[in-house]
Amino acid sequence: MIPIEYWLIFSSLLFVVGAYGVLTRKNAIVVLMSIEVMLNAANINLVTFSSYHTALHGTNDASGQVFTLFSIAIAAAEVAVGLAILLSVYRRYQTIDVDKINILRW
């Protein structure tokens, strides 16, 4: 049995790695991948706390795991639209550097 602290620390580190990628990288695809890593950290937390709740209270409720499935599906939809937007941006500006795509800034 792995204690809950290990899972929480693992998901925290995963989140931090994703946040570092979002904050430092300029390539929009890498930023999108980093956002996915952060989302997966949240998913690990959902599964961990759902299992922990089951272990503590004996309710045998798997809602956290089910919500994780929904979260993964929504992440897939997000990636589909995000990649399409990046493709469209590259066609127009010949770059996906997030520092150079400033059309939405004001």
Binding site: I2, Q65, L69
Partner: protein, 80 residues
Amino acid sequence: MNGSIVRGLAVLAMALLFIGAIMSVDWPSGDIDQTTNERVGQTLFGVSSDSGYGVVVLLIGLLLLVAIMGGIFLAKEEAE
């Protein structure tokens, strides 16, 4: 370059904050490996006709369809 170091340090501070907060809690011991796939399936689709998340699964499928259609529309090459 300097900004990258500052961001790295900020992220490191965030990691230490997370780990410190987690370790400061006295978690009651519990075996977290008990949930089975069968239980996940029962929660997802329900054990009777009026329980579970079957409608949500259908809506998620619709969302994925709309997302992929939107993606195709956005990525489509414009006519010359």
